[in-house]
Symmetry: C2
Subunit: 388 residues, 2 copies
């Protein structure tokens, strides 16, 4: 190649997923005949529920293969509005709900809408790593705020006050959170809403793990603050990762601007996937999804109890999602190396803390209980042999 | 809403599609019982070819509902590599081909990869309007270069030389082009490649209308310059608009950076759609696609000849895609108003030049021959009554 490649500066600030390296190595080991227990992936192990799959097949048979509206098909926006009514008792106009290509698409739209160059949003560290990269993409910045067990690994009003600076325009939090599974209750959401509102900022809440709460209430921020932006997804509770469908809820004034962005950046989402998603709300689908949620809860109970017995510390009770964020200091002082050892020597794939930020990342690993109970038991048996 | 919304500055530079206003009004008129001939849409009227639809339905039945690799499933990257071999006689390593969520996804990746804030790419005006908006998104800039019939409404080496400035990092052209249907031949591509290379810049060629050339050769820039970036799509020749699947070909050195971006920005494309796309290359599918191309050619021949008879001027022969870019100065001096009149008074939906840039936009309209011949004949009959 005669040209010396010279890529944009943002590339040096955007990090790859470290879990991909773990997964690549895991695949190599499997090809060598090794048995690997996968506790790394951030997606449900279940295939999409059959009523949704059948609706997708029917949509294709019906010729739903053309572009559709940049903000999503009206029927799906209306179904989501009804969802907020039935699940949360909230009245949300369908016109305030935009379908997006995954929650990833919603993060792109909101970063583009809200961040001028040099402006920033507060983000909890640890947290979903891509958040700050979307902000970097548009020459804004995610300001990582180290959060600890004392605040449930979440931002709170004190931290917002402490870290808000000249160019801060808002805060982005998640409930239930990745990687901790921690849930923000109504009081915590209210505190965040007030802290951000006092500063004329924007509050974004990532609610993509809603529906996967275990015996705790998972309130939507919209019940407290109708001006907040909500990001959600059909990937987790609804189990549609590979279909690439999410949504966002925005204040009415923002919607025309967001639709303009969506027209230009996406043209359309998968039309077939949107017709399939209409089946996600049917009672027979809900029954399957709720059974799966209960299976996640059982796995959580078992794995959490076994990890604690083995000597892992889990300072944040994982009340939702499908993750346990565990402190490994009893066993090692470098979680990246710990993950490699677990994989190479014991055939267990888990994610190092460094995938979620910089705050004590070397002390932590994330376990995803996105595999069957027999496999989780196998992982526990292997860990018991080496760690107990 | 108590907060005064204050959105990022880029929003005032990003324009909505004007054709959407035309389509919205067309829908209103249809709901009032009016018969509208649609010559506005930038997508084939055909439903996706049946072998692809059946492959999609099978992929769902097979449980292809999970995330897949951020760069695309290996089978599809390999199929695309074979496509370059069979169609162009080119050897392109599958590792240089990345599947993207539509050509839109490829434009996002390349804008993020190549443009620092304040840097720009040269773009022909008229051209696909979203190109400059992707660049604006990342705080770069698309520098619109007025192109005329003399250069086939394309950039050429003279124009590149004339408009290249301090912050210019490359040029993005399309062949066949939207809105003119003009095709760059080998010599033109070579001239552009050399002009950009001399300036150590990047050349991006949008080849999304490849496969829809009518009796002319449509060479890929990769046959001339293996360092060029190519954007392509399953939407147009392959007829898969609503599935949201495209691809790009990049120099090997850029691929790890692009994959890192794709991991963060997309996680994955639609997995089902990628398995479906594998059927796009089968002989029985190709037969359908080539028949459809021939239908587009017949429509082009008829509509072009009738428009010329009516007194439209078409300075660029539309050798590909499914567009005719016609000068209306014989009839009106404001194409936006002309389009509204055609819609309101005569029930014909066409796209005003302003959707494609600023260069003499008020003199031009774009006709899309993406509807059946009977409907095109109806439009011609209506135009004959008022314009002849």
């Amino acid at each position: 190649m005669p040209l010396t490649p010279r890529f944009a500066s943002r590339l040096s600030d955007i990090e790859p997923f470290r879990v991909v390296e773990v997964l690549t190595r895991a695949t190599e080991l499997e090809q060598q005949g090794r048995d690997i227990v996968h506790l790394g992936a951030g997606e449900p192990d279940f295939t999409t529920a059959d009523p949704i799959v059948q609706a997708g097949r029917q949509a294709l048979a019906d010729g739903r293969t053309h572009y559709s509206q940049a903000g999503g098909i009206p029927q799906l926006r209306e179904a989501l509005s009804r969802w907020y009514q039935s699940e949360y008792g909230l009245v949300i106009d369908p016109g305030r709900i935009m379908v997006t290509p995954g929650a990833s698409g919603a993060l792109l739209l909101l970063s583009a809408l809200l961040l001028n160059p040099g402006e920033s949003m507060l983000l909890p560290d640890p947290g979903y790593p891509c958040n700050r990269h979307f902000m970097r993409l548009v020459e804004g910045r995610g300001d990582l705020v180290a959060v600890s067990a004392e605040s449930g690994f979440q931002l709170d009003s004190d931290l917002v006050g402490l870290h808000w600076s000249e160019g801060t325009v808002g805060a982005l939090v998640a409930s239930p959170a990745n990687p901790t599974g921690g849930v923000l209750n109504r009081e915590q959401l209210r505190g965040l809403s007030e802290a951000v509102r006092e500063r004329s900022g924007y509050l974004i809440v990532d609610e993509i793990y809603h529906g996967l709460g275990f015996g705790v209430e998972t309130p939507s921020v919209l019940d407290i603050d109708q001006d907040a932006y909500v990001i959600n997804s059909f990937s987790k509770y609804f189990g549609m990762t590979g279909w690439r469908l999410g949504w966002l809820v925005a204040p009415a004034a923002a919607v025309p601007e967001l639709e303009k962005l969506a027209q230009n950046l996406f043209i359309s989402m998968s039309t077939m996937a949107q017709y399939a998603a209409l089946a996600a709300f049917a009672p027979e689908t809900r029954e399957i999804l709720d059974q799966r949620r209960d299976i996640f809860a059982q796995r959580r109970d078992f794995l959490l109890s076994e990890l604690l017995k083995l000597g892992f510390e889990v300072p944040q009770c994982p009340d939702g999602a499908f993750y346990i964020y565990a402190n490994i200091k009893r066993f090692a002082n470098d979680s990246q190396q710990f993950c490699l050892d677990m994989l190479e020597q014991h055939g267990i794939a888990i994610t190092p803390g460094a995938d979620f930020g910089r705050n004590r990342a070397s002390d932590y690993v994330r376990f995803s209980y996105t595999t069957g109970m027999d496999r989780i038991e196998e992982a526990v048996a292997r860990m018991t042999r080496v760690l107990a």
